[in-house]
Amino acid sequence: MPEPRPLRYVEALREAIDQEMTRDPSVFLFGLDVDDHLGIQGSTKGLVEKYGPDRVFTTPLSEDAMTGVAIGAAMAGMRPIHVHIRMDFMLLCMNQLVNIAAKASAMWGGQVRVPLVVRSMIGKSWGQGAQHSQGLHSLFMHIPGLKVVAPSNAHDAKGCLIAAIRDDHPVIFMEHRLLYPTSTEVDPAPFLVQPGQARICRPGQDITIVGISNMVQEAIRAAELLDEVGITAEVIDPIWLRPLDIDTILTSARRTRRLLVVDNGWTMCGASAEIVAAIAERAPEAGIHARRIGFADTTCPTSPWLEAHFYPNPASIAATAWNLVHPEAAPWQPSEEQAKLAYQTQFKGPF
């Protein structure tokens, strides 16, 4: 058996699609630019040459109808993967996703299934701004009948995408532009990261930090900053947001009695609100102190000086965690020099 080897997130996505298209002739891939020379940052590169234009093809700029086409093809027995270059464009798909994809199985008495995967990428930095940066997962988490997954590393990107393609129900598959160049060890053979199973990324005693999507990476860096001031943080990646593995988070939070949820989205009615509410309902006696941080409660700006204040970052996550652990103490911030080391490499334009 070939050993796991380092693979970039974007290559892991491509490998998952490639292996599933080989395994199952009903899988096809479509969306604007999936067959061009760039291939969605490389995640679909070479697939049209390998599988032909009947199984890998671009679309007109008709997100609403193209979502309907994907749903119809799925109900008729195929397994479409529909790709959006930015998640913001999925707002044009909401009627089909919410009114048909999510409801088809129940509404039509179990006589149809919708094995559909909708891939989309969230942007950040280099002026992505108001309409190229949104993490809209909470909109989809609200809807019974949809699964939502936000893999934070290359291993999970591959395993979750294979699980999503094999799932008989629609899966909203969220990627993050800044994760694309990151590498982890990935098994060359096909494998599944199944819905409803969170991962403890690093163990800790003092506080439970739940990160979502790219914020898992930021939370891990924050935990490293916290190590230096004697706080050990347990970082949990839910991976799948619906179905959500609340039990893993609950077990950890019962022990640490402090819960910080860091979302790659807004906090109002967001995934962080759901997680904190679910914990509060399940453990009223545990005395768990909870906080949420996420996008600033405003529209994402393009100017980097403003954008720096829009997102949680390792320093702000660490400072918030410190405050939860030491509510009586004076506020603490990691030094700028330390924090800089923890910052993510951002991408440079144009896209």
């Binding site: 109808a65 119809g72 008729a76 027995g77 009627n95």
Partner: protein, 313 residues
């Protein structure tokens, strides 16, 4: 004209008309637990188009789909049970009148949000082309649906990919209570848009059943030859309310005088006149007993158990 054909079309049309008339009779009793959008007066479109299709072909439609469901071969008793909210219904009591489905008969499921099934049908057509067995798909929509963005998007995509998809516009002139003249600068543009986007279109201005059937046969033959999508716009008239069992000429938004020429030109009466009385009586009796059995089935079926709520979710 061929008496077998006349008899077949009459049976199909009469079955739908009587099913909906009896639905309307039962309706005030509240035993039917579902909004009903009756096709009475415009059922001939579904009958004519489905007569041109084969059992393996697919149809999809809107909330006004009783006619399509029955014409394509959906089980009558299961649809009645569905409207009663029973587990024996075609959607196990979770779809009601607006979401009928019969995969075994090629009915891909109807949908209540206007226009949503147009691109979904294109997805079925894509899968049909991929399967390569010569299946075609017909999607039924009202004139209102042709104002939705997905109508234009799907016409373009279907033409681009030469999909075996027949767009069937049942143009009854009203979206709920609003006439075409208040909704479109150019009411004639419904089919012109199709042509402009590469989908050849035929208009049947008087809703004639035989003309629709001829157009459908021609269109389906082209689809099976892989020549790309086609559109038929049949101009028809809805005799009853948008939703509900009654007439609504007292509501002020349209006049009975507008309906009368259509009623005098009732395709069911015209077919009936071509069938010997004794033969017609035999057909009619069989239909009445089929409907009575469907009503009995619906009424005697058990209501769903609470655990059905989460089944198939």
């Amino acid at each position: 004209m061929n008496p077998t054909l006349i008899s077949r079309l009459y049976t199909a049309l009469r079955r739908i008309r009587r099913f909906e008339e009896i639905t309307a009779e039962i309706y005030p009793s509240d035993r039917i637990k579902s909004p009903v959008h009756l096709a009475i007066g415009q059922e001939q479109v579904a009958v004519a188009v489905c007569d041109a299709l084969s059992a393996e072909d697919w149809v999809g439609g809107s909330y006004r789909s009783h006619a399509m469901y029955l014409a394509k071969g959906g089980d009558m008793a299961q649809m009645m049970a569905e409207m009663y909210g029973k587990t024996t219904g075609c959607c196990r009591g979770k779809g009601g009148s607006m979401h009928v489905i019969a995969p075994e008969a090629g009915v891909m499921g109807s949908s209540a949000v206007v226009g949503t099934q147009i691109p979904v049908a294109a997805g079925y057509a894509l899968a049909a082309r991929h399967a390569g067995r010569g299946q075609v798909v017909a999607v039924f929509m009202g004139d209102g649906a042709t104002e939705e963005g997905c109508y234009y998007e799907t016409l373009n995509f279907a033409a681009l990919h030469h999909l075996p998809l027949l767009f069937v516009v049942e143009n009854n002139g009203y979206a709920i209570h609003e006439p075409l003249s208040k909704r479109r600068a150019r009411p004639e543009a419904i089919h012109e848009v199709a042509t402009a986007l590469g989908v050849p279109a035929t208009v049947i201005p008087d809703g004639d059943l035989f003309a629709i059937r001829e157009a459908a046969l021609t269109a389906v033959a082209a689809l099976r030859r892989g020549e790309g999508p086609r559109l038929i716009e049949a101009q028809v008239y809805r005799w009853r309310q948008h939703v509900g069992p009654n007439e609504d000429f007292d509501q002020g938004y349209r006049d009975r005088a507008e309906a009368e020429p259509w009623m005098q030109n009732d395709p069911l009466a015209r077919l009936a006149a071509q069938i010997p009385t004794a033969d017609r009586a035999t057909i009619d009796a069989a239909i009445e007993s089929e409907i009575a059995a469907a009503v009995t089935f619906a009424e005697t079926s058990p209501p769903p158990a609470p655990e059905e709520l989460f089944r198939d979710a």
